[in-house]
């Protein structure tokens, strides 16, 4: 393992993960929307020790562009063995409540584009009988809450889809990892007050890299979100609907 495709490379978690891989001398292929920022990140990763770094812009919701991007990534990396899907937007729940168009767009970005990308990546890796697909889902996908259920349902779709994909890929020796970060202090969550439960992108990144090495299936990052979300899921709906979470 040493050739990674990173989709959504300008996200804080993806960039922190890429830095660790760069220090270990990996070959990297980055995609994102902003070419200027991608170039800056690519230069940084090269200086930090990456064996090679290439990048291209990609609009995740342009599904038709996915295959071409994957072909380019394969060419640049001489066939990638690891793919990290990390792009996403944090939906404005209130705005989504009054605009189905907005809700649809959020679900497209956070769920459908991930389905498209991970399916196509799975096809390529299955043919090679090895590889790892890592997808950033979220604890928000474990149960719908009034404060962010549009984002949550998209992540829930991703989690469920990956669970099936993992079973299908198992016989091909392809490992599928669902990463469920809790609250992460990134520019995406800049508008939230931070408390004890918040963690840094660097520590989530370290968790992702270790999950790849240890061939994990579903990881909560940090680990304490697993018992927290277990309890959240166990609350009966009759009680849950009265909560203000």
């Amino acid at each position: 393992m040493s050739r990674a495709l990173i989709i959504g490379a300008t996200s804080a978690i993806a960039e922190a993960t890429a830095r660790i891989l760069a220090q270990r001398g990996w070959h990297l292929y980055l995609t994102g929307r902003d070419p200027q920022r991608l170039e800056a990140i690519a230069l940084d990763l090269k200086l930090r020790g990456a064996a090679s770094v290439n990048f291209q812009t990609l609009e995740a919701n342009d599904f038709a562009a996915h295959d071409l991007m994957l072909a380019r990534a394969d060419a640049a990396l001489h066939y990638f063995d690891t793919a990290l899907i990390a792009h996403g937007t944090l939906s404005d729940q209130i705005a989504c409540e009054s605009s189905f168009e907005l809700a649809l767009q959020e679900i497209t970005t956070n769920a459908l584009s991930v389905v498209s990308l991970s399916s196509r990546i799975a096809t390529r890796l299955a043919a090679r009988h090895s590889g790892t697909i890592v997808v950033i889902s979220s604890v928000a996908g474990d149960r719908g809450r009034q404060s962010n259920y549009v984002y949550g349902c998209a992540k829930s779709l991703v989690t469920t889809f990956l669970s099936g994909l993992r079973q299908r890929m198992h016989k091909y020796g392809v490992n599928v990892i669902t990463v469920k970060p809790g609250f992460v202090d990134t520019p995406m969550t800049a508008a939230f007050a931070k408390g004890l439960l918040w963690s840094k992108p660097e520590s989530v990144a370290a968790g992702i890299v270790s999950a790849i090495a240890r061939k994990r299936d579903v990881v909560y990052l940090p680990f304490f979100w697993r018992p927290i979300m277990l309890m959240v899921r166990l609350v009966p709906e009759r009680v849950f609907k009265r909560l203000t979470l």
């Binding site: 300008t10 920022r37 800056a40 990140i41 940084d44 200086l47 930090r48 520019p187 800049a190 007050a193």
Partner: protein, 440 residues
């Protein structure tokens, strides 16, 4: 608007701020509410209130943490302003380079090192951090981006070095590094019995040693005033492989109920530190981490001072009056029974200061930590202020949380000239306390 309670290293003040951040160095100047002021915030290692902007906005710079260029032949590195000095060292030491100047911790950002024009144990030889800055970009509240070098936008260059973050946001900087052979240092530790001996030994050491610094026992008084251990060192010229020291990764929990620094622990610690080496002179190779950043192995050592926090008093006394003034200062500190095991004495050289508000000048600097004891401590500080002012010395803004306005203005005579370079949307708690233009 998001408010976050943010404190500085001394933990005396913790105040709410609007917290802002940039995603990249290409981002436009952040939008501020109509009356709000902004201050860039690096890694929060300033001790007092120079990195705080109570009630205003802080622009958290750690997100700008990318390397831009590193030329392994010329030793020039360019990076975003939020990169930590420690991260730079990780990259450059294996390539045979070292930062020209490092302060006592590697956990400061490049932007913070410039804004405070930090100095190191080699000030007598190479000057301060600002003497090795080749260029940087300043993002002003007008949206303008100004590249400053010693030859281009010179006035703003010199205002920004040591400018306490008030002249705009430094987005990236370019630094000249120094070549080294390997990560090891040749370190000589010499026990010094009093202040006169310190001055003699320091004077002898400056020609032969790049790095000279002295730890002193600030409880010793009378004939023993100034006793301590002088350390002098050079980068080792060999590249022999040695086992790298295991860095402890100790942490101090968030809620230390009381200060662990009191008159008993202090006396024990200082006596142990003084007698740690049995011989007068000890010579040994040390890894650069151990020599430059002994405290970095204890994460959050500042919490040892308990919930009330601590102050550091760092002054510099110019030229020839230094020895007498230092004797008076040490006598006053020892007499008070306050103070800490972190007392450091260092000669600064005469290399031209780059910043209008740079702290180091030709003279001797003394830094002592004090647990926060409220009015008792402020009384001691007032008497120290009087000694420093009489000797035409000044205090270090990066460490300060209390100096009187008159003392700042007398110590930094170019402060008025500096005022014209302040970005009108920028301010800090420190600046409102000591600097703000007289008619504002």
């Amino acid at each position: 608007m998001l408010t976050r309670v943010i404190g500085s290293w001394g933990n005396v003040q913790r105040v709410p701020h609007e917290a802002l951040s940039l995603r990249s160095r290409f981002d436009p100047f952040p939008r501020l509410s109509r009356t709000a002021t902004l201050l860039p915030f690096g890694n929060g290692r300033s001790y007092g209130d120079s990195c705080l902007n109570a009630g205003g906005s802080l622009l958290q710079m750690r997100t700008l943490s990318r390397f831009i260029r590193f030329d392994r032949h010329t030793g020039v590195i360019a990076c975003e302003a939020g990169v930590l000095l420690g991260e730079i060292l990780q990259l450059i030491v294996p390539a045979g380079w070292f930062l020209a100047v490092v302060p006592g911790t590697q956990f400061v950002t490049v932007g913070g090192a410039i804004a405070n024009d930090v100095h190191g144990k080699n000030h007598h030889r190479v000057g301060a951090f600002g003497n090795h800055v080749l260029s940087f970009e300043l993002l002003r509240s007008t949206g303008e981006r100004i590249v400053c070098t010693p030859k281009q936008n010179t006035a703003l260059f010199h205002a920004t070095i040591g400018g306490l973050g008030l002249t705009g946001v430094i987005t990236w900087a370019e630094l000249q590094l120094q070549p080294i052979t390997g990560p090891w240092m040749d370190v000589e530790s010499i026990r010094v019995t009093n202040l006169a001996e310190y001055f003699d030994l320091a004077a002898q050491s400056h020609d032969e040693f790049e790095y000279v610094v002295s730890w002193i026992d600030c409880l010793a008084s009378g004939k023993r005033a100034g006793r301590g251990v002088l350390q002098r060192a050079n980068h080792r010229a060999d590249d022999e492989q040695r086992r790298e020291p295991r860095r402890g990764n100790w942490g101090v929990p968030r809620a230390v109920p009381v200060s662990f620094v009191n008159s008993i622990t202090l006396r024990v610690a200082n006596t142990l530190l003084y007698h740690r080496q049995h011989t007068k002179r000890l010579r040994a190779p040390k890894h650069y981490q151990e020599f430059f950043f002994p405290l970095d192995g204890i994460v959050h050592w500042n919490r040892l001072y308990g919930p009330k926090g601590f102050y550091q008093y760092q002054c510099i006394i110019p030229g020839d009056s230094a020895e007498d003034a230092l004797r008076e200062l040490l006598t006053a500190i020892a007499g008070s029974g306050q103070g800490s095991f972190l007392a450091v004495l260092k000669h600064c050289g005469g290399i031209g200061q780059q910043g209008l508000l740079s702290f180091p000048m030709h003279g001797v600097t003394l830094a002592v930590d004090f647990p926060n004891r409220g009015a008792d401590l402020e009384r001691l500080f007032r008497s120290l202020d009087a000694i420093v002012s009489a000797a035409r010395g000044r205090l270090y803004p990066a460490k300060d949380g209390r100096m009187p306005r008159e003392m700042f203005r007398a110590g930094y005579p170019r402060w008025l000239e500096f005022c014209q370079f302040i970005d009108p949307r920028f301010s800090s708690s420190f600046w409102r306390r000591v600097g703000k233009a007289p008619n504002a």
